[in-house]
């Protein structure tokens, strides 16, 4: 069973839908058309590019290429975490924190998944490694961005509470533990909801893709369960790591809260 191949004409016909939507936007003066066309062009361009990269990548079995592409993905994900910070203040090493947390969490879950759970040969085959790493990374990235945002907003609004607890002799860890917990819970909600509603409200994209490509539904479902478990685990651990590291960065070696180390506008 192979997927029914799409021709260029098929894609262009689907593109007509976007043009139709854009025309409607012009007609109704919604002002959406420009963004819409740019985004549609980006989607087509970026995905075609990725298609070429993946084709080239899948043709090799050199693990160095996998590591290189994986590192690039990590860098982009860490940068995205920085860009998603909406808090007025952010602590300086957001990028490094996100990078380290995503690397440790997603890379170890990926290796475990490939070596133990899937067990394909060779285990670093890019056809498995890259898409799975992308799924882990994408979700963990959203989680880490949410967690750091919640942490920073809470540190800003609850500065006096943290300082009061420090005054009473609590350690930095204890003084922010409530805020950390709130941040973890907030950041894990999307992932937990995705597990809770999988298959009921929405058919997960990977599973749908596999089914379209001809995989028997039960096989596709098994992969989806595996992926959801690994996504949840890597997201959760990445969040905890990022919160640990970032919390430390808020305090100095005397365990004082150093708001002066935060800087305005996270988007630098």
């Amino acid at each position: 069973m192979t997927v029914h191949a799409l021709s260029h004409w098929d894609l262009m016909a689907a593109g007509l839908l976007i043009i139709l939507l854009g025309a409607t936007s012009i007609w109704l003066e919604l002002g959406l058309q420009r963004q819409l066309f740019v985004a549609a062009l980006r989607t087509a361009g970026q995905l075609l590019l990725v298609g070429f990269v993946l084709s080239a990548l899948f043709a090799t079995t050199n693990p160095l290429w996998v590591v290189l592409v994986g590192t690039l993905m990590l860098l982009i994900a860490a940068r995205e975490v920085v860009h998603r910070q909406t808090s007025r203040l952010a602590y300086k090493p957001t990028f490094a924190t996100a990078f380290v947390a995503l690397l440790l969490s997603c890379a170890s879950v990926l290796v475990l998944t490939l070596l133990v759970f899937i067990g394909n040969q060779p285990w670093y085959a890019p056809r498995y490694a890259i898409p799975i790493f992308g799924m882990l990374l994408g979700n963990a990235m959203t989680g880490v961005a949410l967690a750091l945002n919640t942490l920073m907003q809470n540190v800003l609004t609850r500065t006096r509470e943290i300082e009061q607890r420090l005054m009473l002799g609590e350690s930095r860890q204890l003084a922010v533990v409530d805020i950390q917990r709130a941040s973890i819970r907030n950041a894990m909600i999307p992932t937990i909801n995705a597990m809770a509603t999988a298959g009921v409200v929405s058919l997960p994209g990977m599973m749908t893709g596999q089914i379209l490509a001809g995989t028997p539904p039960l096989e596709a479902v098994k992969y989806q369960i595996l992926i959801m478990f690994t996504i949840t685990a890597s997201t959760g651990f990445a969040i905890m790591l990022a919160l640990r590291v970032s919390t430390r960065a808020l305090f100095d070696e005397r365990q004082r809260l150093r708001m002066d180390r935060l800087h305005r506008d996270a988007r630098t």
Binding site: R158, R160, E161, E163, Q164, R165, L166, M167, L168, G169, E170, S171, R172, D178, D252, R254, Q255, R256, L257
Partner: protein
């Protein structure tokens, strides 16, 4: 216990050198914004500072921050409660000397937001001493209290100071109170801590 500030450097203030002897209470007055609170925060090692602070010869920098702050306890002018009821802020709520500060034990169970400012201020004092700190740094500890409760807080601090031989630094705008509670008086003027001879004059 003796508290000694040795060339303590605080932003906006000239270096402060000051010794507070065991069981002694020292008062500091000064206009708003003169740096009284900054000084106490530095002594509690909540803000970066220059110089050194010693507690019976033990240097602040030689022990972890939380250890120092448990020994050198700061009561800020505005206290914060982070749990719903006061009880949850105490290690051993049953053993609190609530009566000494004219507090009904029932206030421990009420939502903190429903307590009066005066009740919260007295509870904050109890919370401050629950781990038996060696030094008390008090920033306007009776600002929200009536005369009777002010007297109770003053007596409470005096008893603690005598019982634990604890140095106390007391900040207030109320000169009469400072004369009652402290035996040595200082004022912060233009960024310098200066001794006031005898009674702080009006």
């Amino acid at each position: 216990m003796q508290l000694r500030l040795n060339d303590l450097g605080v932003a906006g203030l000239a270096a402060v050198t000051l010794s507070v002897e065991p069981g002694e209470c020292v008062s500091i007055e000064g206009p708003s914004g003169s740096g009284k609170t900054s000084l106490l925060r530095a002594v509690a090692d909540l803000d970066p500072h220059g110089g050194e602070i010693y507690l019976n010869g033990d240097a602040c920098s030689a022990m972890p921050g939380p250890d120092w702050r448990r020994r050198v306890a700061l009561l800020p002018a505005e206290v914060v409660w982070w749990r719903d009821t006061a009880r949850e802020h105490f290690k051993d709520p049953a053993a609190l000397p609530t009566a000494a500060l004219q507090l009904d034990a029932a206030v421990l169970e009420q939502p903190v937001g429903e307590l009066s400012t005066g009740q919260r201020q007295r509870l904050a004092l109890l919370r401050l001493v629950q781990h038996e700190p060696a030094v008390l740094l008090l920033d306007e500890p009776t600002a929200a209290l009536d005369e009777a409760n002010t007297a109770r807080v003053e007596a409470f601090v005096q008893a603690y100071r005598e019982q634990h031989a604890a140095p106390v630094v007391w900040i207030s705008h109320d000169r009469e109170q400072l004369c009652r509670v402290a035996s040595r008086h200082y004022a912060l003027n233009d960024g310098a801590l200066e001794p006031l001879s005898g009674r702080p004059g009006p």
